[in-house]
Amino acid sequence: MVNPGYKHFKGEDWVDPTPPPSDLPHVEEVGATGAPLKSASFVIGSMCKEYNEDFMLCKDEDRNPQHCLREGRKVTRCAIDVLEKIQANCRDEFRAHWQCLDDKNQMFGRCRVPEKTYNECLFKSLGWKKDIPFAPTNKPQIHERTPLA
């Protein structure tokens, strides 16, 4: 990583290679990039709702990173679990959707065609349905509408 104008600062100079303290339980990091995460965000949001809300309430108590490590591990494990479930059940649809998001500047509105098959596959295999909170209830949600020309 080289920021423009900072070529004399090598990115690796800022990396601290020290491993985390050994008394902490090991947890894998999610490791997914932006587009797959964005594609899976609504699934993560609804399937990990309890863990996420618990974590954010904990963060509200104290912003110290040490305070919420336990809740944070649960959040990360749940996100990894959801991503693995998606990969196991809807691998191709998921891939088509996040690659579309990658191509289309991560705009959901331009990836409705792959999203439709992706959501159908998730509904069939996991029984999950996308729901946007606080959307108007008297009309279909934005991902179920026909986009304006």
Binding site: D16, V30, I44, Y51, P65, Q66, L69, V75, T76, P147
Partner: protein
């Protein structure tokens, strides 16, 4: 010159009176009436505003979708960043303990503020041998 010998004569209207005089403009009627044109323009504008409303509605819902996808990812990203920050903080405190071990009464990792509230480091605390400009002797 009037000397009484000639009889003054006065112009009189023709017998039966003058024909009615046409003083109004009489243009042929062409095209729709004013009210009709007003209604046509109004309906075109109403349709246009309806399309504007649809576009605004779609844009608002797209924005809502984007914001909620980000909100749903926030806890996961914060958890990951917190673990990294905690790891770096522990390493920095260990380094500080090693450097200041000869100073009696020094508390490694003590904050510069009096309060209990957490304040993140304002500069990245990285190992000295990795810091830019560091020269080995």
């Amino acid at each position: 010159m009037s000397n009484g010998t000639t009889q003054a004569s006065q112009d009189m209207p023709p017998s039966g009176g003058f024909k009615p005089f046409r003083y109004e403009r009489r243009l042929p009627k062409r095209g729709p009436s004013g009210v009709g044109m007003f209604a046509i323009c109004g309906s075109i504008m109403a349709y246009g505003w309806y399309r504007v409303y649809l576009g605004l509605d779609e844009r608002r819902e797209l924005e809502r979708e984007k914001i909620w996808s980000r909100i749903y990812l926030t806890p996961m990203l914060i958890a990951e960043a917190d673990r990294d920050e905690y790891r770096r903080r522990c390493a920095a405190v260990d380094r500080e303990r090693e450097i200041m071990k000869d100073i009696p009464g020094w508390i490694p990792g003590e904050g510069v503020y009096h309060g209990k509230r957490y304040a993140p480091d304002t500069i990245a605390n990285v190992p000295l041998h990795q810091q830019p400009g560091f020269k080995k002797e």
